[in-house]
């Protein structure tokens, strides 16, 4: 077996998430590819919590569909996660025997899993450790026992984790783990399902989540200022900065509100430093005015929006891709603001470095549109060679240019050399008011038109940057998928499965989601007769934006649903199968279009 998806749920104190953390840390150490997502009820403490861990000997693109293993410390909590923890007939179901429910009576209507094990998890924990706190360690023992995963690394991790609490606790946990393993040995699965070892060439991996990756990438990219306000699910970015940025000669500010957070970041940029802010949908709404100021003042600024369910407070702890309209369009006046979307923890690094480069090169605010899943899931990442990245700096005026300096000078490419306080001769007035080349206020319609044209012109090269788009599959495929953000990972797996089935399909994943790169979509859609733009939102916002700017083939439709309702690779494959079958039909209306 080369791929294993484990889902676990319990109540807050059960330690189910820390069991997942132990498992993925051990897997990363051993060289497995792995991914972990956490999901919680809205309570701060207690309440239901769950995690899903996927281990594989191959690269994985998403947290997986149906569970191979389901662990329920109690059924009430497990069931609250619904489609996030889907059980099928081949799922190995492990649950707390104390619940008193017979294996035939487990509350999973519509499925009859072959292997169902009531396990006295609490009793085993008490027996081994004298406390039910070791329940999660028993679960780890069960999983290691049945699936042969990372035994030594899990034990090593446990002993590291509990080392500071004394040898007695380490030993108690080792006993709990051993009891779990023993139970698994004594109750074999109907068919043995041992996990393969990762290939020897697969070295130890990085393990982190998208928020920490974004913050680390920002510091690598030269960011020395962060201003923000706590908001789920982006606060970890500010936490990383407030811990680290001082070491790099920078500063971070937890501001009094979202406007002050972005305001301070914009001030730092005006002062010559690379700066960022981070937020989620409700904060984006509040930051909109200062994003407009950054656009007209032509100041580099990176804004991270970790999308969650909306509108308003919505569902703060679950992913959705419904802020794209806001990221692209929320502004008064004519504004073009690049929007980049990472699709995984790994490429959050590339996208963040790119966001700073675009911001600095074009003197513009840039939005990184992440989502709760990418931002908060943990993922193994192969070590990244940072030497392959070019770090761009804003174009500063030369001494000659400073002799007759005009901050907003009309240049051929629309980018004007930018000075900053402290630079003699570069003195100018930054402003939200329309201005002439020297930065002086104007109400001239002619000047306003010229400046608008400049602010759009400077961004024109961005849409031709093919390396910001990832296309896989046969170039002439008649089936096409487009996906952005975390759903791209689901589509990558759907692509692999569909191709294995013999379907002729290709996939376009844009990092640059706005402005729309018309040429790139036109080329991609040229061969496409049917397909889907796959998104986790009610409206399918990218699909609608593509229709604004490009010719989307009539057979390409939006496949979308509201956030917190995961889309599984299998569903997309089924859609593609149907679409392929429909293309086989001699439908004259489609043929006549050729």
């Amino acid at each position: 077996m080369d791929d294993l998806v484990i889902g676990m749920a319990g109540s807050g104190g059960d330690g189910i998430v820390s069991a997942g953390e132990s498992l993925i840390a051990a897997a990363a150490y051993e060289g497995y590819h792995a991914m972990m997502t956490k999901s919680f009820g809205s309570q701060v403490r207690g309440g239901e919590s769950s995690c899903r861990v996927r281990l594989s000997t191959r690269r994985v693109h998403n947290p997986g569909g149906n569970l191979d293993v389901a662990v329920a410390l109690n059924w009430e909590d497990f069931l609250k996660f619904g489609a996030e923890l889907p059980v099928s007939g081949t799922t190995v179901v492990i649950y707390e025997a104390k619940t008193g429910i017979a294996p035939a009576a487990i509350p999973l209507p519509g499925v009859t899993p072959r292997d169902v094990f009531p396990v006295p998890i609490t009793d085993m924990a008490k027996q081994a450790a004298g406390s039910d706190k070791a329940k999660n360690t028993v679960v780890l023992g069960l999983i290691a026992g049945w699936f042969g995963i990372a035994r030594e690394s899990i034990l090593r991790g446990l002993s590291k984790r509990f080392a500071s609490k004394g040898a007695a606790l380490v030993q108690a946990n080792e006993r709990a783990f051993a009891l779990g393993e023993q139970f698994a040995r004594e109750h074999p699965l109907s068919t043995p399902r041992a996990m393969d070892r990762p290939p020897a060439s697969s070295g130890t991996k990085l393990l982190t989540d998208g928020n920490d990756m974004c913050a680390a990438a920002a510091i690598f990219g030269g960011c020395t200022f962060f201003g923000g306000y706590p908001i789920t699910p982006s606060s970890e970015v500010m936490q990383f900065f407030t811990g680290e940025v001082w070491k790099y000669g920078g500063a971070a500010l937890q501001a009094e509100d979202e406007m002050a957070g972005i305001g301070a970041a914009l001030g730092a940029s005006f002062a010559g430093k690379k700066a960022m802010t981070a937020t989620s949908g409700p904060g984006m709404a509040l930051k909109t005015e200062i994003m407009g100021l950054a656009s007209i003042a032509e100041l580099p600024l990176v804004i991270l929006d970790v999308q969650r369910g909306g509108p308003s407070t919505g569902i703060p702890t679950k992913p959705e891709q419904s802020d794209l309209f806001m990221a692209a369009f929320s502004a008064h006046g004519d504004v073009l603001r690049p929007v980049l979307a990472p699709t995984s923890v790994a490429d959050t690094f590339d996208v963040t470095v790119e966001a700073f480069n675009v911001a600095e090169r074009y003197q513009t605010p840039v939005i990184i549109l992440s989502d709760q899943e990418v931002a908060q899931r943990k993922e193994t990442v192969d070590p990244i060679d940072t030497s392959r990245f070019v770090i761009e700096e804003r174009r500063q005026p030369t001494d000659v240019e400073l002799e007759d300096y005009a901050r907003f000078r009309q240049t051929e490419d629309g980018v004007s050399p930018i000075s900053h306080p402290g630079m003699r001769g570069g003195n100018y007035q930054g402003a939200g008011i329309e201005h002439n080349e020297h930065g002086n206020p104007t109400a001239s319609g002619k000047m306003h038109a010229a400046m608008n044209e400049k602010r759009f012109r400077k961004l024109a090269p961005l849409r031709r940057r093919r390396e910001l788009f990832h296309i896989q599959g046969n170039e002439s495929a008649r089936l096409g998928l487009v996906a952005w953000g975390s759903i791209a990972g689901v589509c990558r797996e759907a692509m692999e499965r569909a191709t294995a089935e013999g379907l002729d399909v290709k996939l376009l994943v844009p990092w640059l989601v706005y402005p729309v790169a018309e040429e790139i979509y036109r080329d991609f859609f040229a061969s496409v007769r049917a397909g889907f733009v796959v998104e986790l939102s009610h409206q399918g916002q990218l699909y609608r934006i593509l229709r604004m700017y490009t010719e989307v083939p009539r057979g390409v439709t939006s496949f979308c649903r509201s956030g917190a309702n995961p889309i599984q690779p299998g569903e997309i494959v089924a859609q593609l199968r149907n679409a392929a079958a429909a293309l086989q039909q001699p439908v004259t209306s489609i043929a006549s279009e050729d």
């Binding site: 840390a25 002050a260 001030g267 200062i290 003042a297 939200g432 206020p441």
Partner: protein, 296 residues
């Protein structure tokens, strides 16, 4: 303010801070006097214009940075203080001035004032308080007196004004002063003292609106009623006495320094520099920052 980078030995003059831009203000506007006072104060302090960042919000008075030769930032309504704080945190070596009107500071941007005060970055905030919204043609402002008739209070305002002096004193500002263009040299001295004060300093300027302001708020009237705090024997190190006097905002026109903490605490920018020094070199090299995530 840190004067260590003062590099010019040739003394700067007020005219070195005057830009070519002609103010949009109405003839007789109080802000002209404030601008003169700022030129004088900056010349006396002696930092060259390119080492000064002058941030404002929106309103008649917020046009002021453009009339100086400093780096200016005429930002958006109410957000001058956050932007200025970002500048100061990023570049503590700069002299940072913030200016705006009473609406900018005590209405739309009111939420930022307490936090700027408690953070105590070394910057100077000058409010040109005219008790009216001039740029939008005369509506009520947060400091308009009760009973004032304006286009949005046809039958007289039913609300009490904010008391800017009491407000900033209550939030713990370490330097609080009030002036009027009716005494421009006095105002210039006060602004100079505020700039030199090491930490957040606040200067409220009663700056008349000649077009929409009432007669009681004009310079001529100021000359008749203004009373220097020194002349009433006020000790500016006495915060409670300052609060007592500040209660007369709106009825009396006290000028001078209400409060000046004689033992100023370290400013935030000084603390940040200290922390940066202490932590320098303790992080992973930037190109190896991802090693922090390596499973060892």
């Amino acid at each position: 303010m840190n004067l260590s980078s003062q590099e010019k030995l040739v003394p700067l003059q007020a005219k070195d801070f005057r830009s070519d831009l002609k103010p949009i203000w109405c003839p007789g506007c109080g802000d002209f006097g404030v601008l003169q006072a700022i030129y004088r104060a900056l010349a006396a302090v002696g930092r060259p214009p390119h080492e000064i960042a002058f941030v404002s919000g929106i309103g008649c008075s917020s046009r002021i940075p453009g009339y100086t030769t400093a780096y200016g930032f005429n930002s958006v309504h109410g957000r001058a203080l956050p932007i200025a704080q970002g500048i100061k945190l990023a570049r503590p070596d700069l002299l940072v001035l913030v200016a705006g009107g009473d609406g900018d500071g005590f209405s739309i941007g009111g939420g930022h004032v307490p936090h700027a005060i408690r953070r105590n970055l070394d910057l100077t905030y000058i409010v040109m308080d005219n008790q009216i919204y001039g740029l939008t043609k005369g509506q009520l402002s947060p400091t308009s007196p009760r009973g004032l008739k304006t286009p949005t209070s046809e039958y007289g305002s039913l609300e009490d004004p904010v008391n800017p002096l009491l407000y900033v004193l209550a939030y713990g500002a370490h330097f609080v002063a009030q002036g009027t263009p009716a005494d421009m040299p006095g105002l210039a001295e006060m602004i100079e003292a505020a700039i030199r004060y090491p930490g957040f300093s606040f200067v409220n300027v009663q700056s008349p609106c000649v077009t929409f302001g009432d007669e009681q708020s004009q310079v001529k009237h100021h000359r008749a009623i203004m009373k220097s705090l020194a002349s009433v024997g006020h000790d500016p190190s006495d915060r409670l006495a300052a609060m007592g006097l500040a209660q007369h905002y709106g009825t009396e026109l006290h000028t001078g320094v209400f409060y000046r903490n004689p033992t100023p605490p370290p400013s935030l920018d000084a603390l940040v520099i200290e922390r940066q020094k202490a932590m320098a070199g303790t992080g992973l090299p930037k190109e190896r920052i991802l090693d922090a995530f390596l499973q060892k």
